[in-house]
Amino acid sequence: MKSLKFVVVLVLVSILVTACQPSAAPSQAAVVSGAPDVCTSDAFGCAVFKPGEVVKLGMGAPMTGGNGSYGVDISQGASIAVTDAGDVKGWKFALDAQDDGGTAEGGASVANKFVTDPAIVAIAGHIFTDATRAAMPIYEKAGIPMLSPSNTVADLTTLGSAVFNRIAFSDTNQGNAAGDYLFNTLKVKDLAILHDGSSYGKGLADTVAAQFAKDGGTVVATQAITPGETDFTAVLSAVASKNPGAVYFGGYAAEGSILVNQMKQTGLENAVFFGDDGTYGVDFLTHVGANGEGAFATIAPASPDSAAKTAFNAAYLAQFGKEAGSLSPYTWAGYDSAAILANAVKAVAVVGSDGNLYVPRAALMAAVRATKDYVGLSGTFTCQSNGECNAGLPQFVVVQNGAWVAVQ
């Protein structure tokens, strides 16, 4: 009986709490006088902003836990983009970055929070695949476009989602190119495959292995490591016994740099290390030092040091006290994804006759997907109808004299 009484009290309290919450449903289709016509025809209606309010871009990213550095870094990059974007017809942009822990539960929770906030018009994210998968159907229902800076898993763009877009490589794209390059250009016959067991790393590694085998090479070993650990000498020793000509690694810079260092002590001194866009970055270079000479990675083709990028790097260092790219390789992609979304908002927003700003949601979804030849910090992006915005071939880079150098 006690518990029943308690539950009653609890329910009463929650009624009170929810009664005090602001109206939960987003102010969709605010067909008030003054709304432009486009709002009535838009499938998802308009987001309305009174003068002085801010247009919000959401971001779901892991800010805490073992992957915290990715979320912190990407959201910091995006926050600079939001400042740089200026205003849309007098309304300011703001970034609402929420911690989703990189998990499905967190992703769905953040997505549900965003769709109940009428000021959120687009999402720069999510960052980790699990979170994206759980969040996608929720944004789909609310008509909020996403632009992920870092989701590479191939099938995300094949699900027929109307809201999901990405400026990261698809694994197929990057992996096939890497497999070909290893076999044809580097003339590697025996390849060892390593990955970190994440959907990103494994996806890439599987693609590379398949392509390499198709080209006629032999995959002599496939092993996975546990991310977060720091001693991989055992698995490298086992791989070394197969005498591979190169080691392909699907994963991130933290583990990649440890692998490069430990390859030198485990009999893999002569094997080529071949990484991906996750191992690329200044962080990798500082960790590997001289051991890194001759290590490969793939990146999106971009002018390495455009004026915009230099300016961004300076702003990032001044604001956050760290070199851009020292927390994760996705700093610039984070900037680009927020910048592209802000551009799209600018393209579709209209001021109504009542002086409010109206952002038609379906039109915004179309506008994001219509992005063409956008020159960003991390590449040049043109979105396709499936949401793939980075379909170009990757650029191969190699470490020479302690710096990344582009190769053919």
Binding site: S3, L4, F6, A24, T64, E105, S109, N112, K113, S198
Partner: protein
Amino acid sequence: MNTSLRKSIRPGATIGIVHIFFVLIGFNMLVAILFARVSGVKQPDAIPAPVYLMAYSITMGIWAGVAAAQKRKQEFRQVAFAGCVAGGFAGIMAGLLEFGLAIILVKNINVRDVLTVLSANFIKGTLFGMQPAMGVMVTVMLFALGGTLGGALVAFWNSTPFQAFLNRGIRFTKDSVQKAQGVTHGKNRLLWQIASISLLALAVVFLPLNWGSYWNYVLGTVGLYVVLGLGLNIAVGLSGQLVLGFIAFFAIGAYSMALLNAPLPYHLMWGFWPALVLGVLLAAVAGLLLGLPLMRLRGDYLAIVTLGFGEIIRILLKSDVLTAYTGGPRGIQNIGGPTIFGRPFVTDVDFMYLIIGAMLLAMFIYSRLQNSRTGRAWLAIREDETVARASGVNTVRYKLLALVIGAAFAGLAGAIFASRNQFTGPEEHSLMASINVLSLIIVGGLGSIPGTIMGAFALKGLPEILREFENYRLLAFGALLVAMMLSKPDGFIPSRRPKFQIPIQPETREAPKEQDHD
């Protein structure tokens, strides 16, 4: 130095250290931003206006003052003075810190490689945008002012008229509660029960419709964690077996639902309900299989083995070996929802109802088991396994039963969870999730149903509420977890033992006689 002064300086120093920590992680700015937001600024800058930072300083001062003035039965002036001393001392420490910061600022030393937040702008903001000397002075003053305020507040709280007022209020509440109890225990008891149940039913029916998808999602998660928590409570709270990898059973439920129901990888496309039942059964079987070899283990040995089991399940689910069968790290998506009487259950509201149903079922089963021969056997095992066994309890069987039923609860929660998210992946089932479940039942009060609900709110709801704290949210969560344990070691709502009416008259003093020889 007199002891009174020393007693005030101690809390002052503590708060000073806390303040220094806050500044070094940039928490003072966040508090200032929250103050700004509360006072109506829509989009505060990263470094908000000085007035909000001043408000932060005063707040810290008040904290120091309250800490110093507590437990003092002195007159107003003295207590206020004690608060002032504490606040002042904390202020001096804050001032020293700011002095150091000012040196960093003026000499342009780069400390950000070690302490990231200490940018020039940040330091200027912390000094209220004033000249360093001025800023330090203002800080000390504000802290002292806050301390005095805090002391005064405590003094006022302790003052006779206020206490009298308070007592009257308490007495009034007590009286009304007693009166209400009279009502509930008298012949109107049934009426009260009907009323409360119908109120509950109404709330259950109408609330999910009204609080929006976000709260439906968050509270749905809380509800599933109640189910999970009750399951773990059977193992930990009732039968006393410390299970640390409980989420493994949740994972088994989730993956059963996913593999049977989703189009990939097998395209079995079972309905929700058969998949749910099988998920629950498989989780229960897993509990049995895990339990069999472990029945001789006790306490922490059991904890580490179950932790290992949880990790084994997670690693296997994501491993290369099983990728073809479980989707590997990619997980499984497009998991369908249930259909009831031909109506598909897909929206957040529908799932909320489903979760409420699961929660009620779990609570019902749990409470029924708790007060039965089975429940008593579990409790006896928890209290003293050796004696329980010697009293005729088949400990092996009951410990296994606890694991199996607990696992079944977890399987139920997992299956619904996967279906609601339409996705499940191996990283959903990490060790941290197990730790969360264990924490929630202990925070709430081991073994008690309302405690489990409370704990689920605290553990899964609190981090959502703490979203305002941005990156500091888990920091705050960790600190609150410690604070909750320190202030309520038995949990929010400790479990109670049932009371029985005495069915025989004590006067008879009759020895029971063996009569029945059937």
